[in-house]
Every structure is written in structure tokens, then in C-alpha cells.
Amino acid sequence: MTALASTAARVRQPLGRTQAIGWFIVVVGLFTVFGMGVGTGTAPSSTLTFTPVDVSHGAPWHLGNLTLPTEWTLVLLGAVIVALGAEVLVRRLAKGAMVRVGLMAIVFLVAVLVWASRQPGPSQVPFINVTAILVGSAAITMILIYGSLSGILCERAGVVNIAIEGQFLGGYLVGEMIDSATNNWLLATVGGLVIGALMGWLLAFLAIRYLSDQIIVGVVIVTMFTGLASYFNSWVLTPYPNLNNGNIASNLAIPGLMKIPIVGPTFFDETGFFYLMLVLVGLVSFALFRTRWGLRVRAVGEHPQAAASVGIGVERTRYVNVILGGAVAGVGGVAFAAIQGQFTPSITSGFGYIALAAMIFGRWRPSGAVAACTLFGVSAYLAYNLQSYQVPISTEILLMFPYLITIAVSAGLVGRVRPPAADGIPYSRE
């Protein structure tokens, strides 16, 4: 009788989120098979190549090109996506649905590349340079990871830092000016760290001392700083262009490791900011989940009253973490300057918000955030660069891609995410 009742309940249940995601994945897979794969024309082929384009230290290795039959490759990739969707539907995956969506996105991106580069075809570029894509994406991914780590540090302690975008901008501006003046990225990093920390302190001060709505305070800080940066741009940078000379940090290749095919140029021929990011990911991960400090931070973010009842200073913890988070985002802004060069007022173009979405997609964990940032980074990079493949979609639409994923993720359309219980809720003792 009880089994019957619950079956009846299930039958009458409207299309649940898990099923919706499952069907969505299946549809994407079917589109890959039938929309892009079957009937691509008279036996075209796609070629993958692996030699880096911009070889700063020479590639001691040479991998041959890999030529694939476009149609069958797409059918195969589509089948993989359909299988992922079917798995979600059949096993009623609620928790793993997010991971499947991520995998789907990656496979689909590969499929789009294979499809776009087919020869004969409209593409001007007759091959896909896998290494170039990875190297190019690594830079964007790095920026996003700085932002996500900042978000994790703040939100694990219960404060939403939506001001990451502004902290990026602050770090970028200050970093660019200091480097232009001194030609020293280390000093620039210190400058970005300080400005980020100050902006973090401002957010913390308003959110903790005055219990303001953190989202509003964050948006206000971003808006205020955008205006301030524009002002600075017209009144300082334009008259003194030598404060904005657009230097780009040179790579510090790691001898030996950089020679590994594909992996070498992607991970071991990078700027110092990339290595610093790797260290920070490990450090934040370790500190949050292995140390006493991390346990207390997470307790403050989950149940501040419980933390307070054992003598943990809730306000103090939040201050420290939001300032730390601001500092990390500020350094991220300097890193941005180090790969992008000259400052313009809208240079950060929403990366701070995407980083925040990646943090949610990654479930407030450094490891998850790294995976989500990689996905977002690769798709953003491709959106900027697919144009050269003459894809019959306008550039503007392609550039929306990372933002579309961001909307889907932050609206909770993908998987079930559970933020720290006290995230965004002002804490007061009474």
C-alpha cells in the first residue's frame, strides 16, 4: 500500500529537474549526431594538430597530425553525450548531474571544433591546434580561478563577495600603473593585494558592522569602483600614458617540465601568476578542509551561533576572510593586467561574475572551482577565437556562451548545490 502510494506520487510528479537535465543532455547529443554529424557532406575530415603556435622556448617534440573522419567522429561524440544523458535519466542522478553537464559541455565543445574545422568546409583554418587552445584557455582560466578562490574564502565564512569584479578592476588598475612606473610585477602584485584587501575591508565593514545586505553592498562597491576607474583613466592615465604602457609579464618556463608534449606549454611555460594561482589553490584547499582555522571558518559560515557559543569570534573570522578574499581577487586583477596589458575601464568585462558562478558550479570547493573555471575558461577562449573558423554564427552570440552557462548555473538549473547555510546572512549577537 505504501509502495503503491509512492509510485502514484512519482507518476503524477511534474517533470523534475533531474529529468529535465537528463533530457537536455540527450537532446544536445542527438543534435550533435543528426544536426552536425550525419550529412556533413562528401566525406570531409578534421585534423588535429599539437604543435604550439607561439613557441617561446621551441618545441623539442613533434606529434603528428591526427586526421579524423568528421561524420563518424561527430556521431561518436554525440553518442557519448546521449549516453551521459541516459545515465542521468536511468540512474536518476541528482548529485552527479552537475558533473555530467560539465562533461557534456566539454564533449560538445570538442564536437563543435571538429565540425567547424572540417575540410572541405568554410573554415579558413584547416586544422584544430589543440595545444594552442589549451595554452590560450589557461590564461583565462587562471583569472577565473583567482576570482573563485576569493569567493570561496568569503562565502565559506558566510559573506557573499559579489564585488570580485570591482576587486579585479582595482587590482588591474593599480597593478598596471605600478608595473608601468617600476617595471616590476612583484611590486605590482603587492599593490594589487593591498587595494583588493582594502576593498574587501570595505565590504566586510559594511556587511558586518552595519549588517547591510551583502549583495547590494557588493554591487555598490563594483559600481563605485567602475566610476572611479573611469575617472582615473581620463584624468591620470590619458595625460600620462607612461603609467599605462601595457607591459605583459614574461613567462617563467620551468626547465625540463616545459618540454613535456602538450602539458609543458600549457602548465609549465606560464607567468609567475599562474604558478602562484596553483599554490593558492592547494593552500586554500588544505587550509579550509584540513586545519583548525578552516574548521572554524566553515563553522562560522554554516552556523555562526554555534561557532560563537564555543568562543569563536564570528565577526573577526568574517573580517579576516573577506579581507583575504579581497586580496586574492586584487592579485587576480594584477594577473589579468599581466596577460592583457593596457588598462581600459571595462577591461574586466564581467569575469568577476563568471568566477562567482564557477565557484557555485564548483560547490564552494577549490577543486570544484578549478574544474568549473577550466570549463568556463575554455569556452570563453573558444568563443573569442571560433570566428576564425567561419562558424556560421555571429561573434556576438558566441561571446554570450560563457554568460549563458553562468545564468544556467547561478539560477540553479544545473544540479543541486548547497551553499554554506549562513551564506549572505548578516550575523548579530542578539
Binding site: 503524477r12 561557532a307 564555543v310 568562543g311
Partner: protein, 503 residues
């Protein structure tokens, strides 16, 4: 530990929450602090636990005056507190919760989980409190979560345990188990300060009972005092502890719930196939430990929560998934569980609150314009007949006491044409005097021939008020019994097992 409070006074603005309170807890003693809601018990405990600072008076531990600036100080002095709302992080493991704030570490500030587990096991062994250190707290039943709170206090080497309304969330069996634990802790030399307003359990477990009322100590008495003596001390006058009502004369069913399935915010079926029937002229009392689907059931009946499947009938009409306004207009009265959130608008006047769910109806409005004179007249009549103590009908509701706020809701709901009344926790947080009043009104509604559904987590109230008692456990009705059934059997139903001979 010997704890002594001397002349503790704590004021909030013009309100004196604690007025020169003196109290002594001897080592190995279970000392009960008995008082109504709002008598100042919680304030006193917060002062003792360092969460608030007293304006006057001193705290002595083993004869030495101490200053407790925060709860960390209190814990270091050997005071442990088991809060009414557990101070546990739900997503942390038992071990993480127990060591929080006093973590054993290895190099690099790393947590020493091995030592944490070992510490918990040794406390478990010493006091017979078994629990898996690696279990996630939210996966544990409430009774075990409370045990974790106790272990946490003992783990910090508490010599004095403060238990704040510890049985409020427990089944009768779990409450009995807790009292056994309290006795064995006292036997091993720990002092226990036990806060409660439940007369039965207080007499059962205490060595000394101190009664406080309106912030003052009324007196200390032995547990042999009778319940009515204790109640009179608590309230300040003789009170009737039994609800006087004639036998019910039930007629046709008015409120019918059939195979109802409702999901909570997380998507779990918290009401899982409930069928229930309330007839005209009877009170059905729904018992159960908090969080077993009662709240969601009431929300579904009143249109505040989506019904997944099943039907709700009111006087034969299908009201399933109708809007709250349609349901209220169909003749369902609702006294909500959280009155300040769902029942009233605190910043609005008494008069406006009394027409909160009938603002469009004549004579309170005509063609979309409010008739303020009618609203006022209505309020003055109701204030008079329901004995609401307020300075004026224009006073904001926030200026009324909790009991009078509840009277405003009762007046509003009972003064309009009703088929059935659903009342959730109708006396929560009220003083004994107001409780008596609300109970009488509910019985009056029944005697006028309406159907009444009461939801309460206070077993005494359920047994006193109900003509039939339905028990809910994990989203299902585990039994419908006569109120003469023993508390033990109802307790078993509340824990999900059917006693012999029910149904």
C-alpha cells in the same frame, strides 16, 4: 562544582528580565529552574553562560567570584550548555562538532582527527553515551544530536551542565532516556541546572526546584510539591490544569484529507500519504515530535504549500491546491504555528490585524476602498469580547504581549463564518493564563458544531484537548487513538512503532 548566583539583575531598557536572582547549585545536584515563557529563565542562563553580562550581582564558582565575558570563558570555567536549539553544525561530523573551538592539532595547524575520535570515545565510555564520531550530525535523529551536545559539553570538561528546555524536541521515550543520563551524570558528581516549564518531568528528575516569575525568584521547593502548587507558584494564582469539556457529539465529516503527499523545500515527501477526517463537533489533535510533517500538512491544507497528490475536502468541496484566500473564504480558520511570521503584521495596528484576511469583504471595504470606521468598530467589539489587553485598537501589534497577540488572531479567526478551524501550536509561548483562555475558546468552537484540528508538540495539550488523537511520524499517521490511551503508547506511536492493540 558549586555554583552560586548572588543578586543577578539584567535589564533590557525598561524591562527587568532578571531582578536580584539568588541561586545555589550544589555539586552532584539536579537543580530545576521552573518558570513560564518570558519569566527570565533564558536571560539568566545567557548571563551564566557569558552570552550576556549582568548589570548587577555576581557569579561564584566554588566560592570564587568569576567574570564571564563570553561563552569561551564560561566553558573554560567548566560550564557547559545544551541549548534548546542545538548549537551543532549540521554538515559537520560528530567529531568536528565536539572539538570545535577546542581542537586538538598537529603541526601546521592540522586537525588531529585521531585524537578527536579518541576523546569522544573516552567520554562515551565514561558516561555511557554511545555515538559514532564520524557520523554527520544532520543524519542523526534529534535524540542523538542532543547526545552530541551533551558530549560536547562534557568533552570540554564541564562540571556544571545547563540544559535549556531539553525535552521540547524529544519523544517521551527519548525524554526518559535523557533523564536517566542526567541522573547518572549527577551521580558522577556533575551539577546540572535544568530549565523547563513542564511540571511532570520537573518533579520526576529534580533534587530542588526553584520557581521564577517575572524575573524574580518565587521560592525553592522540593520535588515532592504537587503539580498544582508548582503551577500556582509559576503563574501567581490558582490555575486549572485540566481542560473542562463535555463529551463530543461528532456529526458529519467536514475536513477530509485523503492520501495527501507533500514535499518540503528539499523535495522530500515529508507528508507521505496522510488520510485524516475531522467531523463537525469534534477536536482531532495531531500529536508528534516536531519535524515529522505536521507543519507541512497544515501548510498544504491551508494552501500555503503545493500538494503533490491526494485531496483536501472542506464541507465536501475540493480545496486542494486552491489559493489561501479561496480556502479562507471557503470557511477555514487558521491559527498558524509561527504567529509573528504567518499570523500577524507586527508593525500594523490591532484593528488592521483583525481584518487581515477579510480586508475586501463588506463592511470593511466597498468598491475597493476601505471603510476604516467599520474596521475600527469591528476591532473595538472584538477587543472587548475576547479580552485583548491593548492600550488602543490603533496601537501597533508589536506593543502587545505574546498572549494578547495570539488573542488577536483567535478573535479574528473565530469572528468570521467558519466550517473548520486548524490551529497549529495554539498555545506555544503563552503563559498558563492565556493557555487556559485559548483552550476554552477552542472547545467553544467545537461546541458550536465546527470541526477543529489541533496540531501540537506538547503531549499534555494533545491529550487534554483532543476528542481523538492522531499521531504523526515521518510523514505518516501511525495511529488514531482515544485520548484515554496511555502516554507510553502514544509515545511509541510518536517514535513510529505501533503499541499492541492500537487501530
Amino acid at each position: 562544582m558549586r555554583l552560586e548566583l548572588r543578586g543577578i539583575t539584567k535589564k533590557f531598557g525598561s524591562l527587568t528580565a532578571n531582578d536580584h536572582i539568588d541561586l545555589v547549585v550544589e555539586p552532584g545536584q539536579i537543580h530545576c529552574l521552573l518558570g513560564e515563557n518570558g519569566a527570565g529563565k533564558s536571560t539568566l542562563m545567557n548571563v551564566l553562560f557569558g552570552l550576556l553580562q549582568a548589570d548587577e550581582g555576581e557569579i561564584l564558582i566554588d566560592g570564587q567570584p568569576v567574570r564571564l565575558a563570553n561563552s569561551g570563558d564560561a566553558v573554560r570555567r567548566g560550564i557547559g550548555m545544551v541549548h534548546q536549539h542545538f548549537m551543532l553544525v549540521p554538515v559537520f561530523s560528530v567529531a568536528e562538532n565536539v572539538v570545535l573551538g577546542f581542537e586538538p592539532t598537529r603541526s601546521l595547524d592540522r586537525l588531529d582527527y585521531a585524537r578527536a575520535r579518541e576523546d569522544i570515545r573516552s567520554v562515551s565510555r565514561e558516561f555511557g553515551l554511545e555515538v559514532d564520531p564520524d557520523a554527520t550530525v544532520e543524519s542523526l535523529p534529534i535524540g542523538l544530536q542532543q547526545r552530541v551536545e551533551i558530549i560536547k559539553a562534557l568533552g570540554h570538561d564541564a562540571q556544571l551542565l545547563i540544559l535549556d528546555e531539553p525535552t521540547a524536541v524529544l519523544t517521551p521515550q527519548e525524554a526518559d532516556a535523557l533523564m536517566a543520563i542526567m541522573r547518572s551524570l549527577a551521580a558522577s558528581g556533575k551539577s546540572i541546572l535544568f530549565i523547563s516549564h513542564k511540571l511532570k518531568e520537573v518533579r520526576q528528575v529534580s533534587d530542588v526546584i526553584t520557581v521564577i516569575r517575572a524575573g524574580r525568584v518565587i521560592g525553592s521547593v522540593p520535588p515532592t510539591s504537587s503539580e498544582s502548587e508548582l503551577a500556582a507558584m509559576m503563574v501567581g494564582r490558582e490555575v486549572s490544569l485540566v481542560v473542562e469539556k463535555a463529551a463530543a457529539t461528532p456529526r458529519e465529516p467536514v475536513l477530509e484529507v485523503r492520501d495527501l503527499v507533500v514535499r518540503d523545500d528539499r523535495g522530500l515527501a515529508v507528508v507521505d500519504g496522510v488520510s485524516l477526517e475531522v467531523r463537525a463537533g469534534e477536536i482531532v489533535a495531531l500529536a508528534g515530535v516536531q519535524g515529522n510533517g505536521q507543519t507541512e500538512l497544515v501548510e498544504a491544507i491551508t494552501g500555503l504549500r503545493h500538494v503533490e497528490s491526494g485531496t483536501v475536502l472542506l464541507g465536501g468541496r475540493d480545496i486542494t491546491n486552491r489559493s489561501p484566500r479561496e480556502i479562507l473564504d471557503a470557511g477555514l480558520g487558521h491559527i498558524p504555528e509561527d504567529r509573528q511570521r504567518d499570523g500577524v503584521v507586527l508593525s500594523m495596528s490591532v484593528a488592521d490585524n483583525m481584518v487581515l484576511n477579510t480586508p475586501r469583504r463588506a463592511p470593511f471595504a466597498r468598491r475597493g476602498t476601505r471603510n476604516l470606521a467599520a474596521v475600527r468598530d469591528n476591532a473595538e467589539t472584538l477587543v472587548e469580547s475576547f479580552d485583548v489587553r491593548t492600550s488602543s485598537v490603533d496601537a501597533p501589534l508589536s506593543s502587545l504581549s505574546g498572549g494578547n497577540q495570539q488573542k488577536v488572531i483567535v478573535a479574528r479567526e473565530l469572528s468570521r463564518p467558519l466550517e473548520a478551524l486548524v490551529a497549529s501550536q495554539p498555545t506555544r509561548g503563552l503563559d498558563v493564563g492565556s493557555i487556559e483562555y485559548v483552550h476554552r475558546e477552542i472547545v467553544r468552537v467545537r461546541d458550536e458544531g465546527h470541526a477543529v484540528l489541533i496540531v501540537s508538540s506538547e503531549l499534555d495539550e494533545v491529550m487534554a484537548l483532543g476528542d481523538r488523537v492522531a499521531v504523526m511520524f515521518q510523514g505518516r499517521v501511525t495511529g488514531v487513538v482515544d485520548p484515554s490511551t496511555s502516554r507510553e503508547d502514544v509515545g511509541l506511536l510518536m517514535a513510529g512503532s505501533a503499541p499492541a492493540g492500537s487501530r
